[in-house]
């Protein structure tokens, strides 16, 4: 996954299909205000529990935005990145299986596709349970994310599937309950989004086997 080289960056082209920045203007209690924001896609994420082996199924991938967040937090300029000091592994995240809603099918169908494409489990929508909807960001983007839960078995696994489609390079990893619980302990520093932490703790609270 991590053979990553030749990192550089430049201005955002005006026709980016993924990031559409705006300045939003409004008047609140008579005072004119503005807020800079961007449009991103709504999305889904799925907590997957393999009941055959009592393991949670997560995904790991290199995330350019996290790499940029790390180096820019240290004040590194785009043209002078020391790849020894900042190896790409720093920006490999652990996440729930997830995907953006970029086609006209139902949200749960998008979830079903992502479970298959990213993690290789082929299950019908009837086995996917909608849990909670929230806003994936509130400061700069206000897209909706729907959290799902699915139980899978080893029999649902398609040997040739998983790891992403097109250019995606995604590693599937499994955690037992005790390992997973530790990720929510005080003192954790994790390269994961808060939706991962919430989905994990929601599962541990509401669905995990009790022994």
């Amino acid at each position: 996954m991590n053979n990553i080289t030749d990192i550089h960056y430049g201005p955002l082209p005006a026709d980016s299909p993924y990031v559409k920045p705006f300045r939003f203007h409004y008047t609140q209690n008579g005072k004119q205000k503005s807020w800079d924001l961007l449009k991103v896609h709504d999305s889904v994420s799925i907590v997957i529990f393999n009941v055959t082996r009592k393991k949670l199924v997560f995904v790991k991938q290199f995330r350019p935005a996290v790499y940029h967040g790390i180096i820019s937090g240290d004040g590194v300029e785009p043209g002078s990145i020391d790849m020894k000091k900042y190896p790409p592994e720093l920006a490999v995240t652990m996440e729930l299986c997830a995907g953006i809603i970029d086609k006209p099918i139902s949200t749960i169908e998008i979830a079903r596709e992502e479970v298959l494409e990213e993690c290789g489990y082929d299950i019908p929508v009837e086995r996917i349970e909608e849990i909670i909807r929230y806003r994936s960001g509130v400061g700069t983007s206000g897209a909706e994310q729907t959290l799902f839960y699915a139980e899978v078995t080893d029999e649902d696994k398609i040997a040739s599937a998983g790891g992403g489609v097109d250019d995606e390079i995604i590693d599937v990893v499994e955690y037992d309950l005790e390992e997973a619980r530790k990720l929510t302990d005080k003192g954790t520093v994790i390269t994961s989004p808060p939706s991962f932490l919430f989905g994990l703790l929601w599962f541990l609270t509401n669905r995990a086997p009790k022994n």
Copy 2:
């Protein structure tokens, strides 16, 4: 809070101090790739529990990015917003007390200031506990967010403080434990970020009084 009128939006100026979009280029396993992303500030958020009254302390505010997410999700054009159909109340979020790291003081000092400025409780940093660090976004921004926990009392409250500073308009709300727990139930649709849901469930799991 919600006397909001005259909503419109336009292109992002190149000198926005809040949203800095880029196109990030890299080579992974020999294949050239790019990813559109933006730089946002690192931030803090604080779970606040008022032990005098056994209430969790949250904040509510109008969030332009959420408003934009709602109307653009429905395909509404910027110049023709029906404010009756889309009242600003739709985009009033419930969040943890939080703030961006935009000055050269320690992360916990930023947290202390936000607890005072947004919620009106004046407590020393010694009473603020760091819990977990994670990445507040992984798809389009990779900023770090640090979650803190603080217990406050009615005696810590400064009558004249809270509600935000400068142009901020922030309502402070209190939830008892049972009301708060319901927000994490299956079926919830909430105008809150996942960091709110995680912080809340972390508190309920690890710090809430047992009866």
